[in-house]
């Protein structure tokens, strides 16, 4: 298992968002975490790279192990953790700088790098995110000039440029058109060869299309986890069945 989550509880002040969650996540697969709104999915994703630390008055209990090492250990370098566990947000979030500078943002933070090596990293990342052909002639253009779908692929490229091990995607296609969504899903399917991908899809159909494994969460609790087929064709829990067949949520 690449990631092991043990007895995870997440609290916002006195409100609990995640309840005693246990989950193992294997490497080089796509895990979809599905569930209705307010199921604690975003909190779960944000705890994996400790981005949740930025939220005031939040408290986490339990253990999250990546490669057997707890991310909450005192000797963990948080910025290094976030480089290893990259994140793509629900709306495209390009910084107000050029396309090139957006992708180079992470590598530059890590320290000096020759201009040649940097542009290689940027090109490689943009190719993996299937954006290179769209932007290769206008790398210096403002990132805001791209379309929504292109912006989201830019954000994926930006994460890939860090050469991460795990990629978290929180409803990455929720605001995108079907064609852009298909492009991103294609990239993800190819990327899983090299990365561990955890995605919160914006609907059940997307989970069905791209994931190897699916976890279903409801009101902060993990209800069921299994392979794509198990969850969609043969769910053990009635609530899972109701959700994936569209009876609620």
């Amino acid at each position: 298992m690449k990631i092991e989550i043990k007895d995870l509880n997440i609290f916002y002040q006195d409100k609990q968002a995640v309840f005693g969650l246990n989950l193992g996540i294997p490497a080089n697969q796509i895990l979809s975490v599905i569930g209705p709104a307010n199921s604690g999915i975003t909190s779960l994703l944000r705890s994996l790279n400790r981005l949740i630390d930025l939220t005031p008055d939040v408290r986490t209990e339990g253990r999250i192990l990546i490669d057997g090492k707890s991310v909450y250990d005192s000797d963990v370098n948080v910025t290094e953790l976030r480089r290893r566990v990259g994140m793509v947000f629900d709306v495209p979030t390009p910084l107000p700088i050029s396309i090139f500078d957006n992708v180079a943002y992470g590598p530059r933070l890590r320290g000096k790098k020759g201009a040649g090596a940097l542009s290689e990293t940027v090109e490689e990342a943009l190719r993996m995110a299937a954006l290179w052909d769209d932007v290769k002639n206008r790398l210096k253009a403002p990132a805001m000039s791209l379309s929504g779908g292109q912006q989201q692929r830019l954000c994926i490229a930006r994460v890939l440029a860090l050469k991460p091990e795990v990629i978290l995607l929180d409803r990455p296609c929720s605001g995108l058109d079907p064609i852009s969504t298909a492009k991103i899903e294609d990239s993800l399917t190819q990327l899983k060869e090299r990365f561990t991908i955890i995605i919160a899809p914006h609907n059940v159909q997307q989970a069905g299309r791209i994931s190897n494994r699916v976890a279903f969460m409801l009101m902060g609790r993990l209800i069921e986890e299994g392979t794509n087929t198990e969850i969609f064709s043969n769910p053990k829990d009635q609530r899972t069945s109701d959700y994936v067949t569209g009876r609620f949520g």
């Binding site: 981005l51 947000f89 403002p142």
Partner: protein, 278 residues
């Protein structure tokens, strides 16, 4: 007696339009009057000669230098403290007693009349620190005076930066300092610069605070320890003591041009320059 709503609508609209237009007319009137009287006075020797005969003849070269000198000292001193305080308030703390005290102080400082800054500058810089009437005393006093403006405008600009920029930078492995420097600062720089320009304009226009701290010396300031007079002081003395109306008009016209340049032209240039690459 009840007035017909339609009639009152017309009356109100008429009053509001006439109030607005008369304000515009007064502003344009003042500016045109000063420029019409002052522009003919301005020529090369007016700009390059120092005042002679208490300002009855000669030019305004030394007040121009004094103005720029004092304003530069003030801005150079106020900017790091103002922007630093703004970043501390906006990025490093959550609302608590300390931030409330800092913000209350800044807001109170903003309302203090410039003459009180002048009193303070006189007793503290001129007398207590024994800097005398000098460019430095004047600049320090003005730095205190514009500090609240710089803090407030910078804090607003920093708070206007979307939180997603911070989250993205952190999620890409940025430290707090890297995030501030590379994601927040570039997005806030435009608002911050506008605040600094506002402060610069106030320095150039100020009279009460500098007359008590920079002095009224007519000669060219040799260093930051020399006494000097700014253009606003020069104009005030020429006009109030009736020394030379012509030179007063010329100085006022120069001041208005300078203020116009700072407020409108510099702002537009900065916005254009900074907004590039977005």
């Amino acid at each position: 007696m009840k007035i017909n709503p339609r009639v009152s609508e017309k009356i109100a609209k008429g009053l509001i339009w006439s109030a607005a237009l008369s304000v515009l007319a007064v502003l344009v009137g003042i500016i045109i009057f000063i420029l019409a009287k002052g522009l003919p006075i301005i020529n090369w020797s007016f700009l390059t000669e120092i005042p002679r005969n208490m300002g009855r003849s000669g030019g305004v070269a030394s007040p121009i230098v004094g103005t720029l000198f004092v304003a530069a000292v003030a801005v150079v001193l106020a900017v790091p403290f103002g922007i630093g305080t703004a970043f501390y308030l906006a990025e490093y703390t959550r609302e608590n007693a300390v931030t409330r005290i800092i913000r209350f102080s800044a807001e109170s400082l903003a309302g203090i009349p410039s003459i009180v800054y002048g009193l303070f500058g006189f007793i503290f810089f001129v007398i207590y620190l024994d800097l005398g009437w000098s460019v430095l005393s004047g600049g320090l006093t003005l730095a205190f005076m514009i500090l609240p403006t710089v803090i407030r405008t910078s804090e607003e600009a920093i708070r206007a930066v979307p939180d997603t920029y911070r989250e993205v930078s952190f999620s890409l492995g940025g430290t707090k300092w890297q995030t501030i420097r590379k994601a927040v600062f570039p997005s806030a720089i435009q608002g911050i610069t506008n605040g600094v320009i506002l402060g610069l304009g106030r320095c150039v226009a100020e009279t009460a605070a500098v007359i008590l701290t920079a002095g009224t010396a007519l000669r060219m300031p040799a260093s930051i320890f020399s006494p000097t007079r700014t253009m606003a002081i020069h104009f005030f003395i020429l006009a109030r003591e009736g020394i030379s109306m012509d030179n007063a008009y010329g100085t006022a016209a120069l001041l208005i041009i300078l203020i116009f340049f700072i407020n409108v032209v510099a702002n537009a240039l900065v916005n254009r320059f900074v907004a590039k690459g977005r």
